[in-house]
Every structure is written in C-alpha cells, then in structure tokens.
C-alpha cells in the first residue's frame, strides 16, 4: 500500500480496478489547514485523465504491473502478436495499444510487454533500433550543403528525415523516443 505522502510523478497506483500513473503532482497546505496532495493521473488502459486531491490518510493499492521480455512474431488484422521467449506463451496487443511503436516494430524484435495482472496493456521498445532503408532518393554527389536532409522510408513504412548520404538498402539507427535518425549502421 502507498499513502498519499508517497505520491510523486511517475508513481503507479491502482484505483477502482485500473492502473493509473501520476503525471502531475503538487503538495499543498493552506495555512493552519491540512496537507493536501494534488494530482493528475492517467488511466494506463483507457488513457482517461483523473484530477484528484488527496489527504494524508488516503491510501492506495500498488498497481499489479509486471514487465516481461517478449519477441514480436507478426501482425494480422491490427493485432500484434508476441511470444514469451522462455514459456513460449503467446499474446497480442491491438494497434491502439501499440501506438507509435508500430513505426519501429520488426519481426523477431525483443520488447518489454507491460502486463496489468494477466492483461497485456503496453509495450516499450529498446531506445535504439536498427532498421533497413527501403526507399530513398539517390545521393547527388557534389552536393556539399552539409545541413540538408532528405526523406527516406524504412522497412516498417515509417518515413523520416536523414542526411543525404543514406542510400536505399542501407541500415540506420533510430531513437524510438523521438523517432529521429541517429546514425548510419555498417553491416
């Protein structure tokens, strides 16, 4: 159990059967009054925001959350299937749950799947992933303007800006937090 004085940004608690993450937190205490803990929380399943003020004697259950390493197998009809590499158990998440991660997800990639009880609710990818460039305009030699970039498409269909020397068939490293190009990868 957590008490209100444990509340802080990023803490995960369980309210009315849902896991919530604290997104904003402020301690307040009106003069001669009691301590108040003002929070904004996000429901980790529905995405709904909850704005709530708690008192110091309020208690919270810990959210029953667990991360498991799983391998991405395939996607079909907007369902993304993963397998636990030790138990071989298979589960799937919806496109909505996978969110922007879909831009960086390729077959056999190992990811962390977040479970709430038995229910998979979210995935997190490695910070850096290496993806193959499937479509790029050729590099015009002699173009010396070092600051220029050009758009390329990677194997997931994601389009991003890269330096002009990146060519079709090459591999690049992308930061999955920002979706930005990091460096060229030599095979």
């Amino acid at each position: 159990m957590y008490s209100a004085s444990d509340l802080r940004k990023g803490l995960k608690v369980q309210i009315d059967g849902y896991p919530y993450i604290v997104t904003e937190f402020e301690f307040s205490k009106p003069g001669k009054g009691q301590s108040l803990y003002r929070t904004k929380m996000r429901n980790m399943i529905t995405g709904n925001q909850l704005t709530q003020t708690y008192r110091s004697n309020d208690k919270f259950e810990k959210a029953d959350l667990e991360e498991r390493t799983m391998q991405f197998l395939y996607s079909q009809d907007n369902e993304f299937h993963f397998m636990d590499t030790s138990s071989y158990e298979q589960i799937f998440l919806t496109l909505e749950q996978v969110g922007d991660n879909v831009n960086f997800l390729v077959d056999n990639m190992e990811v962390q799947v977040l479970f709430f009880g038995d229910r998979p609710i979210d995935i997190s990818l490695p910070i850096f992933v290496n993806l193959k460039v499937t479509k790029a305009d050729p590099w015009v030699k002699g173009d010396t303007s070092g600051t220029d970039t050009k758009p390329v498409t990677v194997e997931t269909g994601y389009v991003l800006q890269v330096p002009p020397f990146i060519e079709e068939g090459g591999r690049i490293q992308i930061d999955t937090r920002t979706g930005e190009y990091m460096t060229r990868v030599k095979d």
Binding site: F27, S28, K29, P30, K32, G33, Q34, L36, T53
Partner: protein, 306 residues
C-alpha cells in the same frame, strides 16, 4: 541550488528585514529551537529530539517573553515541520515572526505592507521586482502600491468557490476549496489580505466581538502564494486552555501521538496585554522577490542537496 548572486541578495534582504524592525524599535530575540512542549495545533507535525521537539514556530517562547514585559519583539529563526515538502515547502525553513503589544491584526496588515514594499524597493535589482513598487510573477505585474486588497474569507469563498464558508466546513471540504478554487485567484493584481477566518481554523487567535464564529486572523497572498499568517492574539488563558484541551482530546481519539498541555505558556498568557503577532515565511517571500520558482532555489541547502 542557490547561485552565489542569489545568496548575496538573500543576505542583503535578511539585513534589510533586521534594519526595518530595529528602526521601528523592535527587540530581536533568539529563543530555543528545541522545546519540551509545543502549542497543541492540528495538522502540524513536529520532529522529536531526545523526547523534546524541534520548534514548529517560535510562538510559544515569544509570547512568554512578551508577557514578561517586552512590548515589541521580532525573530528570524529556523522552524521544522515533518512531511512538508513541495514547491513552496521544505521541512526546515526560515520564519520571520513579530509581535506588537497594543495592536490588533489591522495595524499588523499595514506594517506587513510597509515591510514588503521596503524590501522590494531596496537598492539591489531583484529578478522578481520590475520597476518601483511592482513585482513580476507568472508573466504578470503585481502592484505593491497601498492599500492592498482586503477580502474576508467568506467573501472569497462566495466569489471563487460559490459556497459559504459554513457549508464548506460542514461538507468537510474547506481546505480543498481553499487550495483549488480560492488561493489561485488571490494577489494577482496586487497583494491581498484574506481575513476573518472561521474560529475553528484559528486556535490561537481572538474571536471577533461582533461575530464569534470568526477569529481575527489574516493571511497575506501574493500571486496565489500564501506568505504570512497573522492575528489578534487570544490572551484569555481560560479560553486558550479550552481550545488546547479540545485539540488534545481530538488527537487522543484519532490515535495521534499525545501532546501535553503547555502549562507555563498558559500561566504567562494571563499577563499578556492585547497583542498582535504574525509569522511570515521568509524563504517564500525571498522566492517571490528573487523571481525563483521554488523555495529550494533560495535557501543555502535544500534537503535533497545535503
């Protein structure tokens, strides 16, 4: 973490506070920080020290000195309150407290205006001050020109919370409404004194003669931030004993750590004439004057820096 420049400005401001009170014939005192008994008040949690307590305010000792015949006192000291940590709270903080015999809370409000204006108008250019007698905070200008706004707690609740104070107390949501609905509006164009608190929220203040449901207590707000709490002191030992007894019994019922009746304080209180006193959070005032975001930015060391 505080910058050397801010530390120098804090030092100048501390000197300016002392000069202000010494010029007005106040006596500076430094009373013990470690006490065997505290004034029984709700919602303030003390640190213990070998069976004694670290002071949560210097009120107890200062009132005892007033009763011994010192008519005007001020003190700058560290106070300690458990479990108070946030943008505007540190468990150890610097308090400025002053008392003036013969005054009521009305004269103290006026003196509070003088003090803040003098500090803002000093020679140094402070980041939170823009132009003569004007503060800058949250992108807004706050005029310090007198008189500052005076607003009763009842009027503020009706205006900003849409509910009379009595109803807020009965519904047990007075503090929540104060923090979420009322405070954010206070002191945005000019500082405001919120005054005449419900008597149950002023354990050490005198009740108003015309209306004993409220006590002569005020709070100073600038830019939604509570800076000072003052009142016409309750100097009737029998009534004060009753209020302490009610708090002691509330604590016993709630299973909170027991506290003792401050007998020597009550003995001395009988010799106290009409007096007004005020406690001002110096770190918060310096934060506003120095244009800092948090109190941790204007103290030499915040707790997480030690």
């Amino acid at each position: 973490m505080i910058s050397p420049r801010c530390l120098a400005q804090r030092s100048s401001l501390l000197q300016a506070v002392r000069s202000f009170f010494i010029a007005r014939r106040y006596l500076e005192v430094d009373t013990p920080a470690r006490l065997p008994v505290l004034l029984p008040e709700s919602y303030i949690l003390p640190f213990t020290s070998e069976g004694w307590f670290l002071q949560t305010s210097p009120e107890l000792c200062m009132k005892r000195l007033l009763a011994r015949g010192c008519p005007q006192l001020f003190q700058i000291c560290h106070c300690f309150r458990r479990q108070e940590l946030g943008r505007y709270h540190q468990p150890e903080f610097t308090m400025l407290e002053w008392y003036h015999t013969g005054w009521s809370y009305l004269e103290l409000m006026a003196e509070c205006e003088d003090l803040v204006r003098e500090l803002a108008g000093g020679a140094e250019s402070l980041a939170g001050v823009c132009g003569p007698a004007t503060l800058r905070r949250d992108g807004q200008r706050i005029s310090l020109a007198p008189p500052w706004e005076r607003l009763t707690v009842e009027a503020a609740f009706l205006r900003f919370a849409g509910m009379p104070v009595r109803e807020a107390l009965d519904r047990d949501c007075f503090d929540e409404l104060m923090v979420t609905a009322v405070e954010p509006h206070l002191g945005r164009d000019k500082p405001v004194f919120l005054y005449d608190y419900p008597a149950e929220r002023a354990a050490l203040a005198r009740r108003k003669k015309e209306n004993d449901a409220v006590a002569e207590r005020f709070e100073l707000y600038i830019a939604g931030i509570e800076l000072a709490n003052g009142f016409s002191e309750l100097v009737n030992p029998a009534e004060q004993r009753q209020r302490f007894a009610a708090e002691i019994s509330r604590r016993r019922k709630a299973g909170e750590p027991p506290v003792l009746m401050p007998e020597r304080f009550l003995d001395d209180l009988g010799r106290l004439d009409e007096t007004a006193g005020i406690a001002l959070g110096l770190d918060r005032l310096f934060m506003v004057l120095l244009g800092a975001e948090t109190v941790a930015d204007v103290v030499s060391f915040a707790g997480d820096d030690l």
